[in-house]
Symmetry: C2
Subunit: 228 residues, 2 copies
């Protein structure tokens, strides 16, 4: 069967999966699970992903959730995917896994706390300013860590080479989610992190034109949340 | 060089690494990084792990942090490790990765929030009852999820077979951390989760006598925190 990819492109790990498939010319069927309509909580979808979250995939062999596990699975299951995305070399693979594990409790956790709590009023939900502040603090320290640990020197990507891996993909989709917060807040966060901005540009160049297409819905949502 | 393993056995992911090495007869040197003495924050240790956390390893080829990445690396780097810990089969491996990714934001996050905040007074730190309550709620829902998703039916371990994987190892070391909270709280949490208790017993039996030895320090700490 054709690989089915269950996503909502407003979710950062969903975009990572769609972008990976497009960049690597993987044949897939995109099934939109609309988070605002609660489609991720239906009994039908829970047959695919019992956790009731996006993204998830189903290729007939496995129903799989958690975006990092999906990315490493797809990189291995489709032999035509270029090696740089998830190198067969054990040491490189361990470094990628380590960055992705770190991501959960740092960049992603901070980013989600900030974004959810700052866009809450636009969704008619209560705003939790303390959670937003804590999220911003963790997000900023995570960005500093990325710059000082993985992007030190003149490296283009996290593994210290000229081509991106699934770690770059996952973390950059998270950074892009900042499009949803107010421009002033995003500028305050990004301004001290020139290396992060350059890294995102490097990744855009490496994955164009798919990057722009996959992020279109995010830009539209930004315009809706922040009409000028 | 001999594999160096930097750990504090009071930390649940540290115990997972030590136990994995012992059960698989991997030759290693255990270097204790005393968290109470702040040894994880020294410049010397940050040369090993820039994140200033335990566990970390150094085998001369790679300095690696994040316990899940360490476990999968060790399972692959030592060919004598039995396949069931981290099967070469792509689908089994993806399932393990998915459980481990899920673990970060669910069982581990809930467990850490509960344990840190309930033992705080014994460490002379302020108690955050709200964080402890939220941690307990997430921990309990995570235990229910494990029972209904991975331990359904008569399976002994998470992958649905008779031998444990690194996913069982990591999650069970987290469950064991509940030894540090008050007996009444632990019983309240464990009582409705008979399948979890049986799963821990299965794992103990599969990894005896190393399991008991690696957890000795935890039992000693429990006696210190809760003298009778």
């Amino acid at each position: 069967m054709t690989l089915k990819v269950y996503v909502d492109r407003l979710s950062e790990p969903s975009r990572a999966i769609v972008l990976f498939c497009k960049v690597n010319d993987i044949d897939f069927e995109e099934v939109t699970i609309d988070l605002f309509k609660g489609q991720h909580k239906t009994p039908e979808y829970k047959e695919i992903n019992p956790m009731g979250q996006v993204p998830a995939i189903d290729d007939g062999r496995i129903k799989l959730f958690e975006s990092h596990a999906i990315l490493s699975y797809l990189a291995c299951a489709f032999p035509r995917v270029p090696d740089h995305w998830y190198p067969a070399d054990l040491v490189s693979r361990a470094k990628i896994n380590s960055i992705l594990d770190w991501h959960h409790s740092n960049l992603r956790f901070g980013g989600i706390s900030l974004v959810r709590n700052t866009i809450a009023p636009a969704l008619g939900l209560p705003m939790n300013q303390e959670a937003a502040n804590q999220g911003e603090k963790l997000l900023c320290s995570s960005l500093s860590t990325i710059e000082s640990v993985w992007l030190k020197g003149d490296t283009k990507f996290l593994l210290g080479n000229d081509q991106p891996s699934i770690a770059d993909l996952s973390l950059i989709c998270q950074v892009m989610q900042l499009e949803l917060v107010d421009d002033k807040v995003r500028e305050r966060i990004m301004e001290p992190h020139k290396k992060i901005s350059q890294w995102v540009e490097n990744f855009k160049a490496a994955t164009s034109p798919h990057f722009e297409e996959v992020h279109e819905l995010l830009y539209k949502a930004k315009a809706k949340f922040h009409p000028h």
